[in-house]
């Protein structure tokens, strides 16, 4: 599985807005580049990123070739209850990467 990095607090107060920073290792080949011989290099990008909080989707994004390589996505979500945040990246050629993090809400 590709390397991913997720930064979020381990603990938060109920109602606090948490900032979550995610990084995914991926070349994000645009599909617009050509080889030195003029052949088009096929598109190969992450197309979707989603975050669920105890099973409920709280954030989703559609990515296009204009996203930089090794995409960084920073978003926020309210700390509602303790539990698990699941992160999933999917893309071309069956690409899939996941990450799981525990959050303790006091």
């Amino acid at each position: 599985m590709a390397r991913v990095v997720v930064n979020l607090p381990q603990q938060a107060r109920r109602g606090e807005i948490m900032e979550i920073r995610t990084l995914a290792g991926h070349d994000m080949e645009t599909g617009f580049r050509r080889t030195q011989l003029g052949q088009l290099i096929a598109r190969d990008i992450i197309t979707r990123f989603a975050c669920t909080y105890n099973g409920v989707e709280v954030f989703r994004a559609e990515l296009h070739p204009a996203m930089a390589a090794n995409p960084l996505i920073t978003f926020t979500t309210v700390a509602t209850e303790s539990g698990t945040l699941e992160f999933r990246w999917t893309g071309d050629n069956g690409f899939s990467a996941t990450h799981s993090a525990q959050i303790s809400v006091v």
Binding site: R3, V5, N7, R21, L23, G25, D27, M28, A68, A69, N70, L72, T74
Partner: protein
């Protein structure tokens, strides 16, 4: 480099090089080769054993009887201690390990040893830095000593201190070594670049690191 690029470098939560650092950490702890040893088996925790190491490379290697760079030192450990096949230059694994080792010296001043063993290589590197080459007939010194700070094609010319290698270059959209950057310079002046691992590059690396002595290591840096 601009403010935003520096912000990217200084923040471990957004520096894309972190992806390689994590790979490097895994490789450090993974057993490899016929000897079935990991780096950690000999060196223990990198945070302690590798502190200050990258700041001293390139350095003179007694067994090789010449100056070698950090990637070559890692290569020697792989082939001679781990009895594993060598990692190719610019391969993801070698870069990850080099970045991981380099990271342990972040913040430390670059400290290159100048003695009768390293002097000939240093002088060769200095000569290369000052020698005109390529179709454009330019020497490194002309831009990086004589015209640093001025603009070239919209970007400022840096003094060319390799304080953060291997680094994430936005142009490459990935991590790369100092040799890869030097090759870009050679191509920039329309000179035929040497192959990876050439002694000419190592001598130039030695000179550049010596020239940057005292400056703090920033590995893994981010550059445009």
């Amino acid at each position: 480099m601009g403010r935003e690029t520096r912000a990217m470098q200084d923040d471990d939560t957004t520096n894309p090089a972190v992806l390689w650092l994590l790979d490097g950490e895994s490789l450090w702890n993974r057993k490899a080769g016929e000897a079935a040893k990991s780096c950690a088996d000999c060196h223990g925790g990198a945070g302690k054993s590798m502190k200050g190491v990258a700041a001293r490379y390139p350095g003179f290697d007694v067994s090789q009887k010449k100056v070698i760079n950090l990637e070559q030192r890692i290569g020697l450990c792989r082939t001679e201690q781990q009895k594993a096949p060598a990692l190719a230059y610019e391969s993801r694994d070698l870069l990850a390990l080099s970045a991981y080792v380099g990271r342990q010296s972040r913040g430390l001043p670059i400290d290159i040893q100048v003695n009768e063993k390293t002097k000939p290589f240093l002088e060769a590197g200095r000569a290369a830095f000052n020698r005109r080459q390529g179709q454009l007939n330019l020497a490194c010194a002309q831009c990086h000593d004589g015209n640093w700070g001025k603009s070239l094609a919209g970007n400022p010319i840096p003094q060319a201190h390799p304080t953060g290698y291997p680094l994430y270059r936005l142009e490459w959209q990935g991590l790369g070594s100092l040799q890869r950057r030097l090759r870009n310079c050679f191509i920039g002046v329309r000179a035929e670049p040497y192959s990876y691992g050439s002694p000419e590059y190592v001598e130039l690396e030695l000179y550049l690191m010596w020239r940057a002595r005292g400056m703090k290591l920033e590995t893994p840096a981010v550059r445009p």
